[in-house]
């Protein structure tokens, strides 16, 4: 365990599914150097197959005895979706360089059959009781990282000062054990350089006092970033004091340090179209993702929200509202508690 841990809380009730985080991360890190088809950050629709395809059933992590569980390395084409290029020049001839366009229409150079947004907004259920929500995902910078445990080179480590888990790009030889071992499938293989790479929690930004790009640039203001032990910060308050931010699939045994405020949902409708008073996202599904406390947390959120509606104060609601963008983030080590 690192001396300190920089953590993130994502309030799924505020997520727009807009993928600005994904764009921000793309231009910050993954539009170059063999990473073009990686998404260190992405937002997936749940329930769904997720990204990479069926990652929740792909193994990895630790069993109850602390032993690594076997994990599958996703197939590049099938599970990530073959990354395609777009035939702009051939289909449109924008420079007038071709005698005439050579492609019948604009599109991917290889027909896609899967991708990170393949099941966007699909979800489950039947009209009008269908349901879905957005689940943004980055590397969890786990307390007990399976990727680290699985690396035969000892090239993955956890920084003592902030708990950020890094793949040493100088020592990695691309064996990809880490990719199979990560139960969240958030380590990617760089085919150009033969190395594994993943979210670095924007440590070069954090070291300059800037929030990670995905969080800083989130228009929904859903991502709180700070040290878990910083008692003055929202992350500490939401995770430890209010206990409304829950880890994703804690049973994977890695101790993830990204936490989620689980989503409320509109009432189900009866066969006449009348609201039933029952949330349409089944509690069982939230329990599957966020553990047994998910329904209790939804109860706390509703109760505090009702207090606020009645005009009573609620420190929890004020925290989640987050009145000032710059106060959502407390990434400077100087600012934090010791």
């Amino acid at each position: 365990m690192s001396r300190r841990q920089l953590a993130m809380v994502m309030d799924l009730n505020k997520c727009l599914g807009c993928q600005t985080c994904t764009s921000a991360c793309k231009t910050q890190w993954t539009n170059r150097r063999g990473r073009d088809d990686m998404l260190w950050n992405h937002v997936e629709t749940q329930p769904g197959r997720g990204y990479p395809r069926d990652w929740r059933g792909s193994g990895g992590g630790f069993d109850g005895a602390g032993r690594l569980r076997p994990g599958r390395i996703p197939d590049r084409a099938r599970d990530y979706g073959a990354p395609f290029e777009v035939n702009h020049a051939q289909a449109l001839n924008p420079l007038g360089a071709l005698a005439r366009p050579t492609a019948p229409h604009l599109g991917p150079d290889t027909p896609p059959s899967f991708g990170p947004g393949w099941d966007e907004d699909q979800g489950a259920g039947a009209y009008p009781n269908s349901w879905f929500f957005y689940l943004p995902r980055i590397c969890n910078h786990c307390t007990n990282p399976a990727c680290l445990a699985a690396c035969p080179r000892g090239a993955i480590y956890k920084r003592d000062e902030d708990g950020i888990v890094l793949v040493d790009q100088k020592r990695c030889r691309g064996y990809q054990h880490c990719i199979g071992a990560c139960p969240y499938k958030k380590v990617y293989f760089n085919p150009t350089f033969g190395r594994s790479e993943k979210c670095i929690l924007c440590y070069p930004r954090v070291e300059q006092g800037l929030a990670p790009a995905c969080a800083q640039q989130c228009p929904g203001r859903i991502r709180f970033v700070g040290y878990l032990d910083d008692e003055a910060g929202a992350v500490h308050a939401l995770v430890t004091r209010w206990r409304v931010a829950l880890p994703l699939h804690a049973e994977f045994g890695t101790g993830p340090n990204v936490y989620y405020v689980p989503p409320l949902s509109p009432d189900k409708l009866d066969d006449q179209g009348r609201p039933t008073g029952e949330r349409r996202i089944p509690d069982a599904f939230l329990v599957e993702l966020f553990g047994p406390r998910a329904p209790e947390v939804l109860g706390v959120l509703q109760a505090e929200r009702e207090k606020r509606r009645r005009g009573e104060p609620s420190a929890l609601m004020d925290l989640l509202i987050a009145y000032r963008h710059d106060e959502i983030f407390r990434v400077s080590r100087r600012k934090g508690a010791t």
Binding site: P111, Y157, M317
Partner: protein, 923 residues
Amino acid sequence: MVSRRDLLRRGSACGLAAALPDALADAAGMPAPHIDDPGNPLAGYPHRGWEDFYREEFAATRGDSQGFAFHCSNCQGNCAFRVFARDGVVVREEQLAQYPQIRAEIPDPNPRGCNKGTIHSQSMADADRLHWPLQRVGRRGEGRWRRVAWDAAIDAIAAKVVDTMVQHGPGAIMLHAGTGIVSQGKRAGPLRLGSLLGAQRLYPSSAVGDMFTGASLAYGIPNVGTSLDAWFEMDYIVLWSFNPSTTRIPDAHYLWEAKWRGARIVVVSPDYNPTAIHADLWVPIAPGTDSSLAMSLVNVVLAEGLVDEDFVREQTDLPFLVREDDGRLLRLADLREGGRDDVFYAWDEAKGKAQPMPGTRGHFRKTLRLGALRPALSGRWEVQGADGRPIAVTTVFDRIRAEAAKFSPEATHAHTGVHPDVVRRLAREFAAARDPGITVGFSLHKYAWGILACWAQALLCALTGHEVVDTEHQWSLGGIGPLSSPKPARFGSGFYGEWMAGRMWESFRRHHGRDGDFARRAGIAPEALVELAARASERKWTSYWGPPRVRLMFADNIFRRNKAASGYRRAVLDATELYVDVNTRMDSSAEFADFVLPATSHYEGWDLRGEVGYHRYANLTMPPPGLKPVGESKTEWEICSLLAARIQQIAKDRGIGPLPDPDFVVERDGKQQPVTRDLDILHDEFTMLGRLKTDQDVVRWLLDNVPAFQRWKLDDVVRNGYLPLNTQAGLTSPLYADRPYRSFEEQRHLRKPYPTLSGRQQFCIDHELFVQLGCSVPTAREPLHPARWPLRFYSPHTRWGIHSTWRTNKYMLRQQRGVPHVNLNPDDAATRGIADGDTVRVFNDVGEFRAMAKLMPGLRPGTLTMDHAWEPHQFARRQGMDEPVAGLLSPLELAGGWGHLRFGAEWDGNQLANESSVDVAKV
């Protein structure tokens, strides 16, 4: 199985990769790697020197120079960004996120922005980008081009413009800036040049179907409501035909923060959309039946006595008297020979007689204050007419009550699919709320009866005394006229102009003309509607200047947007002798041009944008110093300036003096004289005698002359990247520095009249067409989808583009299906043997296209949807999604020449995207 410790030990012992090439070292110039045992990497790690690898990358993305930008696409978000360039090339952008909080109780707006804006640094270099002028050498649309020099292109275009002006007059030119550029800086060039030439231009808002005509009926202006931070103050928020989590990404956070503040959120939409997922109540409604639901809400409010009588007595025309014989408002002209037709009456309970109401257009008292008047809301009386005969009168309120009585929640249930209990709950909760709001989206008026739905929504707000329906409010930036409109131009209706230019009645006849039920639902037979449309411009109800011979089109993707797409394209191209497209990329419209001229994109020139906005900031675009141009692209201002200079030279060379333009008359030396089009001094006029040489000069001019921008100077804006608008930006209320904007404070608190005929929120329109169609007070109509085809087709806005902008970027496409897809309910798909991922044909009697099928459980059975604005060239056979969408006009939107319904910025209609039916089959 092995434990973590085992692995660590094994890993440290193996070291078998020593022989592999070290790509990192190669790439980053680092020394050969150490491969010694790191010990326990969980406890400490000795080899951290490599971490500079990502630090250096980060530094590279911060660039060596910085600029500011917003994206001037047809998104009203208008978000401030910082732009980073390295070696003269843009490498990245990031939201500025520096907007101040206006008050501690309201969250600040930061960071704003969206997935598209944050990817533009990549998109601006996509391979569809235009780099130099192209001249067509093959048939139109064939894709055969010759690269030409700017001089040659400008020469040829200018010569054709001069010839056409001389032979056919200025009306034969269209110089139109579309919605691809909506900023005050970028638009200034084409608007100014078009104005000086007297060229045609279309009203962009109506051309793209963004007119809130229902709001215009009620308030006299289409864009009213609040800045989006006002959501945070509300306690009951209804989002109707509006999906802000997708379409208002920069500001949607105020909704979900309001929810945590305790607000109830209701979403009314046919599909379970990304906004509905966070709502308290989702009201699934059959597409196009919104007017029925709105009238049922009015019905409940009236039936249950939830009316704020003081409000409606003063602020609405509900107490106005209406003649029982012809349903028209009682006017002074009815009571006195030769009397005015814009003075109206109410029954004064204090004096027991009809009294003229102050504040109407014709009344000398310009106030809503009632003084001693006690206008009755309900009753029947007789007044003596001008001819001495009695006229039976009642009130608008009673007319409305009678109309609303037809639309009980039970009566509309079958149309809307909304259970009466839900309707009653919605009406009661809305009426009882402290500060409720209804915000409607741009898609509502893309249905034929969006106009009626919005008018009834306005009525619901009025009856309950709750502000106004929020229709995407706008600022009013005055002071731009001398820059953009130095002379009168041929301003034409957007929706009607495209109907005429594209011969859209042809597809209308095919699709709706054979629908036996159309006349009952529309209140007018199909041929009568075609005839009505044909006569609308000669009756001066709307504005149309005939088919232009020369089209100089800036950033307008007409062949992507218009309905019955290939029919429209054929009609337009056949009528056009020269079609010039100024664009950043080869879009579906540039492809068919005779000349394509490359324009700078969002980060590459100076620009300023202060409207239309949901927030109070005007943003600056300032290129990073040292930015290299993309190819030979030029700013719109420079392109227009070059054209103006060349036209002036040709005119001088050929001795062409001022051309009188008798369609417009001005007073000069005390005499009425026609405006002249002075080609021989065009460039001098265009540049204000050399004052406006560059786009930066334009930005400076705007800062100096727009009252809402005062007191800010260029230096301030260059330092901050934005400026806060001052109080004058508000249209019907001041824009207070510390409060969200809300329309009509001047009307509610100062009792200034509304810009309507009645001077009030108006719910009786006795225009002959409204009377003929039985719509003189708010009512409801069934949608016009022909039943012959089983699926109602509608096309919501996408999160993956601002219309077609960014639609073809690979990073955006990779997060979708990569190819255009239509959405189907799984049951509708199953009955047709369609599986997710199949290629399907969507077709009807107008046209067809092919796309991938995506099965969406949240989609209403009996509907088929597709995110709008895919480029036609993204489809197989390049037949896009508007092929089967028939031309259609809402008959009410053709009205004009009456009261506040006169063609102009506040009153024009919409192209209707969402009233066609289709079927779908597996290919």
